[in-house]
Symmetry: C2
Subunit: 395 residues, 2 copies
């Protein structure tokens, strides 16, 4: 046997997702890409802001010595400083470059954080539905993921989180705006979560850590404000990236920011920087570090996503689909018209509409539609969405 038993098991578990993915590829081959309505991936269709290209070309033209060399494992000092300066305002806290580590995207950031924090068997609590990669990231660091259901409206259930905390719990991981639900946790629940973790840390004598994964923080609608998680709790760590705010997910540029008031902040920063190195990331891509240093406060045209959200929500609503309108990110998470969401996703696939069953996100009975796609994809899929819900209701 060539491969590890664990990876073999992962591959087997993932096989039905892969099968659906492969069926999608076959559909595209058979009918042509333009006749397949692919809502399966969160690969943003908005182009990066024009300023991104301008700054990249300027930096390449200046061609400073060492531009493509190793950076410090923590990142270019200027990139760390630029991020810290932006966060001071956004979080209402005094962060400096020393509290920031540049990473290979938010995925890299989370792996570095878990490696730095977790001893084998330490538990990470994750509200469900959740981003599918989290359990892998926790397991990479020998941690154990425990899921806690959110309320019916996908908001945080603080009582349930409180009940789930054990003497092995080390981290609570939240993601807002949420993938797959589009939910933004409000100020009250974030403050409440901070108070809960503070209280339980004090009563147990074991510090609990709050990790907040926020790559969608800039993609919000209706003037919703994403509350500052860092300022809600002392032992808090933010993971983020420019993947969605600047439409650069392939470039793998993100960061970790740590609450400067954390008791052992220096030790943690040292551990994060060490882990960035020894996990093989080494440093965040060098050129992109330079570019994002000049693009703080710049973001893609969110109004475009807001328009797509309306197109999709209005369309599906009129067909009888039931959902909570997302406040952020570019995902809609409607209720499946039949109990079996995998089966309903198959009914959509018969109409060449590719979506992902909620089961994959720990949200059975729902399915995810990524609407970071062309308007035409949304509009032309409506016929198929109608047929599928009609077929479901005739069962």
């Amino acid at each position: 046997m060539a491969i590890s038993q664990k990876i073999r098991n992962y591959a087997a578990q993932a096989s039905w997702i892969r099968r659906m993915f492969e069926e999608g590829i076959n559909l595209k081959k058979q009918y042509g890409c333009e006749n397949v309505f692919d809502f399966s991936l969160g690969n943003p269709n908005a182009p990066p802001p024009e300023l991104f290209r301008e700054q990249l070309l300027r930096i390449m033209t200046a061609s400073e010595a060492g531009l493509h060399g190793y950076t410090p494992n923590a990142g270019h000092p200027e990139a760390r400083k630029a991020v810290a300066t932006t966060l001071c305002e956004a979080e209402g806290m005094q962060l400096s470059a020393e509290h920031v580590v540049m990473t290979c995207g938010a995925g890299g950031a989370l792996n570095v954080i878990f490696k730095a924090l977790l001893d084998p068997g330490d538990e990470v609590l994750v509200p469900a539905p959740y981003f599918v990669e989290y359990p892998f990231y926790v397991d990479n660091a020998s941690g154990v993921t425990k899921f806690v259901a959110t309320r019916d409206d996908f908001s945080l259930d603080l009582e349930a989180i409180g009940r789930a905390i054990t003497d092995r719990t080390k981290v609570v991981l939240i993601n807002s705006p949420n993938n797959p639900t589009g939910r933004v946790y409000d100020e009250k629940s974030i403050r409440g979560l901070g108070s809960l973790l503070m209280e339980r840390s004090l009563s147990s004598g074991r510090d609990l850590y709050l990790v907040s994964d926020e790559p969608y923080a800039e993609i919000v609608y209706d003037n919703v404000k994403v509350p500052s998680v860092l300022s809600s709790y002392r032992n808090s760590i933010k993971a983020s990236s420019y993947s969605k705010s600047l439409s650069l997910p392939g470039e793998r540029i993100g960061y970790i920011a740590v609450n400067p008031e954390m008791k052992e902040v220096e030790e943690l920063m040292g551990a994060l920087i060490l882990c960035n190195r020894i996990l093989g990331f080494v440093n965040a891509p060098a050129l992109m570090q330079k570019v994002i240093s000049c693009l703080q406060g710049v973001k893609v045209n969110v109004a475009e996503y807001e328009r797509k959200r309306s197109l999709l929500c209005d369309g599906l609503s009129s067909l009888g689909y039931s959902f909570r309108k997302p406040e952020g990110a570019f995902y809609l998470f409607p209720r499946s018209p039949i109990t079996d969401d995998v089966e309903f996703v198959r009914l959509l696939q018969k109409r060449r509409i590719l979506t992902v069953p909620g089961t994959g996100f720990g949200g059975p009975g729902y399915f995810r539609i990524a609407y970071c796609v062309d308007d035409a994809t949304i509009m032309n899929a409506m016929g198929g969405f109608k047929e599928a819900i009609d077929e479901a209701s005739n069962r």
Copy 2:
């Protein structure tokens, strides 16, 4: 305690290296960078070939849709194909895009390979001296690193490797041209290693894997030929990067190539692609994948490194230092004039010369000089190298 016990231990072990590193920073602050002779890091000083900048600017100007979006976890099909085409010639084998995964540098590649291959406790044999990060990479995947001494001339000791193979051995990891010794393993020893692993796999019924880390393959001197590892053994995997061949170490672009004749090659490729995703690399940086697709066969000016090697070797030789002339990479690994290499490195540091003790690479009694630096650094350090060996000989 904030951080994991394991990371705390790593940080403690690394503390003397860090202390030396910090002393180096203090020296630079005190005397100015130009008066400190920093041979401690393998951050290449050769600029990337001009064609790199040209191609990058061309690609950015064309600004194809989705240029910065997620690529498939395995990499852009065109990048995989370009790498495979180059390897067909270099390795004398029939590789196709399906045998290549684009990675975040060779560091990312090795982490992906170990994660895909190793079950907990599986042993990885590593000839010493070795690149300092290897034991971390193996441990990340719950493997165990076992070191095997090389011969006095740093060549592979096949008998010793044979003796070190146990029923827990899964991988032999080699690195040629070698960091820190500059040794290139010759054709005979590579073929011999392949035969040994074949024989031992057959006799034990457990397949052994040969992983070859080759980021310095293009940096060789005196017309030395780096033999093909892939073609020497069926169960072989190559990890490499453009960090040194194109002087892009900060951009984190590399690849994995798998011997197409491996028995379970499809299963392994699936596992590697899955691991690239779940370790949080997700995909190799997208823009760099496009750029290296156009730069196959292009490399930095190796004659420059060859000249630096002569400058350094001639200078140190005339001062009485003893070493084996490196055949590749840009490291010299001289014998320490006193038994305690850490102490000798301190004697050099007193003369503002920064090097790394061989102890850090599993090669006590030696020290490493990275000569990917300005000519002036080499020439101006000679006075200090003389003083240090004189002080050592008067002890």
